[in-house]
């Protein structure tokens, strides 16, 4: 039996598979389909200080091997999250990363302070890359300075493991990763969605209610793998890789490119059992290849000297 347990950035998980924020709510819906504690961890739905109604419909557009969404961080707001959904998911045996999103760095700090007071949270995922919110959101993730400012504000108020979720809509994602690493980020997760749009030709108008949305799914996987590879070269902190992972082989690509763990997103929308099947497929491959510990393959495809850490 291959050891599938991973530990990175102070986060412990029974296996390296998480579900990506915005594609698993707070775990309650998925738990009606499979026992949620089969997962290594979960990045819960993006939480903001105030409740958000989100954007108007249509919020979903199907694309070749992908899907665009412009939900717009619909969520009940910090107060209600602390009352209901968060305590519920914390009763389960998996690593819970609370995804937080805000307008100003101060908003992130206030969210971080509140979550920090909740026992049992594995860490924070700081979303500086949501393409679907007017203020802040992706703006922070587009430049090293703004990304650093958010990280600095969060670091000042919590000792929880902080994972910064990076935007792929940038020229040099390694530069953003370096900036948040310098401000004390414990890890980075990438990639968030790609800013996209579809024109409804017969109506001669953008199809989505918010004009643009974020593209995810297998379509963008090769770009995401490249970005994980680049970030693995540019920083030393651990990486959670995501972007179109639909099979164990996809997940292994991200880990060999330098990711210590992975997150499954769009695939869960199409097949709710995808995260569990991916865990099984990864385990089966490791058995076949005689891999005793899955941590051995972290960064296995990287040039010698880069991320040797992973290769125990």
């Amino acid at each position: 039996m291959t050891n599938l347990a991973v530990e990175f950035a102070g986060i412990k998980a029974k296996n390296p598979v998480f579900t990506a924020s915005g594609t698993c709510g707070f775990g309650q819906e998925l738990n009606e389909i499979f026992p949620i504690d089969k997962l290594g961890g979960i990045m819960v739905k993006g939480t903001t200080l105030q409740p958000r109604l989100g954007n108007n419909t249509p919020r979903i557009a199907e694309t070749p091997s992908g899907v665009i969404n412009c939900v717009g961080l619909q969520n009940p707001g910090l107060e209600k999250v602390l009352e209901g959904p968060l305590p519920w998911i914390l009763q389960h045996d998996l690593a819970v990363l609370v995804n937080i999103s805000g307008g100003e760095p101060a908003d992130y700090a206030e969210l971080a302070r509140a979550i920090d007071a909740v026992p049992g949270v594995a860490g924070l995922e700081v979303n500086i890359s949501c393409p679907n919110v007017k203020a802040g959101g992706m703006a922070h993730g587009a430049h090293p300075e703004t990304a650093a400012a958010v990280m600095k504000a969060v670091r000042a108020v919590t000792d929880l493991p902080v994972v910064v979720k990076l935007s792929p809509n940038v020229t040099d994602i390694g530069e953003i990763a370096k900036a948040v690493e310098a401000e004390g980020a414990d890890a980075v997760s990438l990639v968030n969605t790609f800013l996209s749009m579809v024109i409804d030709v017969n109506r001669r108008k953008p199809l989505l209610g918010n004009i643009m949305g974020g593209l995810s799914g297998p379509a963008i996987r090769p770009i995401a793998v490249r970005m994980v590879w680049q970030v693995a070269h540019s920083v030393k902190i651990p990486i959670i890789g995501m972007g179109g992972i639909s099979s164990g082989e996809d997940a292994l690509q991200f880990m060999m490119a330098g990711a210590n763990a992975v997150a499954v997103g769009a695939a869960t929308m199409v097949n709710p059992l995808a995260p569990v099947q991916i865990i099984d497929e990864m385990a089966a491959w490791c058995e076949k290849e005689g891999v005793a510990d899955i941590n051995e393959i972290v960064g296995a495809a990287l040039p010698a000297g880069v991320r040797d850490c992973g290769c125990i």
């Binding site: 915005g22 594609t23 698993c24 709510g25 819906e29 998925l30 009606e32 389909i33 739905k45 109604l53 989100g54 419909t57 249509p58 919020r59 979903i60 199907e62 694309t63 070749p64 091997s65 992908g66 899907v67 969404n69 939900v71 619909q74 799914g217 297998p218 639909s246 769009a266 869960t268 929308m269 199409v270 097949n271 709710p272 059992l273």
Partner: protein, 281 residues
């Protein structure tokens, strides 16, 4: 078969289990009208727990083309055959591919999804209003109403006589069915909503159940609200997942207590109280 289905159905709608992601064999597929198909899928576990008003997400293949499933109301359940039947109209790439599948093909299906209709134990008189393809989720409801001994009348609309669906099944229920067609090629010319206000005044119906085109559901909901008769509408929206995680298929909703929010059609619905829905479409 109908009698059988009725008994078994009533038994099983009491036991609800979880949602399943399965690969279902196509047992039968045929056109019932131009561009409208009836498809029977082998899904014993789903057939055993499906509730009237629930739906499935189905994909025409396992290749990821199209990427997303398509929501389809459960039109019929045959526990003896361990099958569920759906009814769908071709209006895009996904349904075009779905219409081309053949007997024996294995289709990815996630089911059963959503909350069904809520039929009060003591319901005495019900009015069921269907339009076009919207009759699909109403048929299992009619079976349940009959089983519970609820006096039920049906108003059924379609564009033309040859696009009037489910009549083969409805006749076996021995319920009063009033037919409407847009062109008057069968029954009354017009929509099931016309004359509804009067019908509600005189009919003494305690609840109205409706599924059909948005304009029909809107007017039925508004007429029921005016007549102060409860109205359960089964909505449709462009869906991502079908089981609540992507929050894509929302509808503006005003709860009885006045709370305004965006409800997920797939998970919080698809059945809503008509007067709690904002009909701004």
């Amino acid at each position: 078969m109908a009698e059988n289905a009725i008994k078994k159905l009533v038994v099983t709608i009491l036991v609800i289990k979880g949602i399943e992601a399965i690969s279902a064999e196509v047992l039968d597929i045929f056109a019932v009208a131009e561009g409208i198909y009836e498809m029977e899928l082998a899904a014993p576990t789903v057939a055993a727990k499906a509730k009237p008003g629930q739906f499935v997400m189905v994909r025409p293949n396992a290749l990821g083309q199209p990427f997303l499933g398509r929501p389809m109301g459960i039109y019929d359940v045959d526990q003896k055959r361990g099958s569920i039947t759906i009814l769908f109209e071709v209006h895009g790439k996904g349904t075009t591919l779905l219409a081309k599948v053949q007997k024996g093909d294995m289709l990815p299906v996630v089911a059963p999804l959503g909350n069904g209709f809520d039929v009060p134990e003591d319901l005495g008189r019900a009015l069921v209003v269907g339009g076009g393809i919207g009759v699909a989720p109403l048929y299992p409801l009619l079976l349940q109403l009959k089983e519970q001994g609820v006096y039920t009348e049906v108003l059924l609309g379609a564009q033309t006589a040859d696009r009037l669906l489910a009549m083969d099944r409805l006749v076996r229920l021995n319920m009063p069915v009033t037919v409407f067609t847009d062109d008057g090629s069968m029954g009354t010319k017009g929509y099931p909503s016309q004359g509804l206000a009067e019908l509600l005044k005189e009919g003494g119906f305690e609840t109205v159940f409706c599924c059909g085109p948005m304009p029909l559901m809107r007017s039925v909901a508004q007429i029921c609200a005016a007549a102060d008769v409860p109205c359960q509408v089964s909505l449709e929206e462009r869906m991502g997942c079908g089981f609540g995680i992507c929050v894509g298929c929302v509808v503006d909703h005003k709860a009885a207590d006045g709370t305004i929010s965006k409800k997920r059609v797939c998970y919080d619905g698809p059945v809503f109280e008509g007067k709690e829905v904002f009909w701004n479409d």
